[in-house]
Amino acid sequence: MQDKIFKALLILSAVLIPVIGGGIILSLTVDASGAFKEFGFWEFVFSDDWITTAGKEKYGALPFITGTLLTTALALLMCIPFSLPVALFTGEYFKGRKIAAVLGTVIDLLAGIPSIIYGLWGFYVLRGTFMYLDLSPQGSGILTASFVLAIMIVPYAASLSAEFIKMVPAELKEGAYAMGATRAEVIRRVIFPMAGSGIFSAFILAIGRALGETMTVTMLIGNTNQMPETLRTTGNTMASIIANQFGEADGLKLSSLIAIGLLLFLITAIINIIGKILIRRARHV
């Protein structure tokens, strides 16, 4: 009898997850439908209007989708040259040694810093530097936000990649060394091909992180609702427009913001699922 109750509890708690997941999609869709009905789904996605003036209201998600994709892509580009070396450092060169553990801890702590503190640091320290270097006229903008995003996702990409680099069988590497290969050649010809799909999935998951990052971006991107023209200009991402305007929106605007939320949810969900499927495969090679 007690066993039955226990098993029922187990199943019940597991059912909660699909309920939450389904609930999110359902609730967002219901509340977003106002915007989709008014403008049409594709028109909403591909329109770059964001006119909040009463009577002339017209909303489109394109500037924010662009902002999100742009910052994420830039952050990814900037994070690769750092996360790969870190992964090699901890997973290959100094595998199992104290210094690798130290760097590993540093990376873990970097991952632990709350995003609002990254934002503060970016705003008070980096912004001035960016203006001084004339990388951006007003300090904040796409470039600044992407740069800090890159720092934020390095830990995710690096620690997962290291895990896969560590998994490459020693016999394979030793075989290559025995044939006279240098370390660099072993890394290029043995480790990368073997761990490649795992490393790839690590970066996909890092993308998933960058897509939805809110506070840091809101503090650094400049919060303007136009299509970003260059990387030096300001913009808004899907997450930051919600953070900025959700608090006082109602009616059509609220519905439009929720619609953007739904799109963001779907994009991150797809990216994450792809990443997870790849990772599960890579782990069971």
């Binding site: 964001w50 904040s140 300001t234």
Partner: protein
Amino acid sequence: MKKFCLPLIAGAMALSFAACGGSGSAGSVELSGAGATFPLPFYNMSFEGYDAATGNKVSYGGIGSGGGVRNLKDEIVDFAGSDAFLTDEEMKDMKPVVHIPTCMGAVVLAYNLPDVVKLNLSGDVIADIYAGKITKWNDARLAELNPDVKLPAKDIIVAYRSDGSGTTFIFTDYLSKVSENWKNTYGAGKTVDFPVGQAAKGNPGVAGIIAQTPYSFGYIGSEYAFAQKIPYASVKNSRGELITPSTESISAAAGDIPQDTRCSITNADAEGAYPISCFTWLLIYQEQHYGDRSMEQAKATVDLMKYMLADSVQQKTATVNYAPLPKKAIELSLQNLKTVTYDGQPILK
């Protein structure tokens, strides 16, 4: 492991029970409001005074005028604060609302220019800076207004509000009055699609950007600029006088006030008037019995409005960098308060 966890949980639970016991202090009424950030310091000060005088607690969240009106619509607050009066269209969507002005303020144009201590502006120049037509500090039209100042050859970094804001409304209302181009292209509203610049949340957010960014320029509530000692510009009024915002020049802008006090006093045609001056209002429903509100709550709400109009409160406006209401506005508002009812019965006898 377990040994460590149990006392922790027990302790925390005891804490939360103690917490529940402490919250329900009986007797006094708790009022809640939300809205404009512009008069926040004034409201904090006055609501504390009201608490001391009556024992009624008032909480007020500075979430922006737009948010305040939305909360009033959702009937989750007793009153809303707004720097913009409700338009006729907005009024149509809602149950009857009474506007109670509480003080006067101004929107100032703050700037961050190293070595520049005095800046003069005119309405059309401001409009063109915000329209992206004037982009450099050393633009000829700026130089003409400021013959004695050496303006740098740098880009103007424009800042504006990202949230729905009464401050934005007052500012763009002014721009629409002085610039035909602004009126036709962008118009006035709580949020406007500014073509240039970067946005920040709340008056403080914009003030923060300006304080932190050399060569920046933006509109903020006067009280933040005064308190933060952020430099602000003098602006040409409709009579061609260059006016520095101050308590006196703001008061000078109050002209004719209609019965419901809903009026814009930007670009006022009066001597010595700062042209971007404004009232700020508290909004309450005329019929106070909505949701599960009690008679006591309704009474306290009206009482609070009356308190805000009292001389003792109005005299203190200047200590927090606002200007007091003109007598006419107080008279009209006291009349309007008499129309507020609970179940159809007037609350003030």
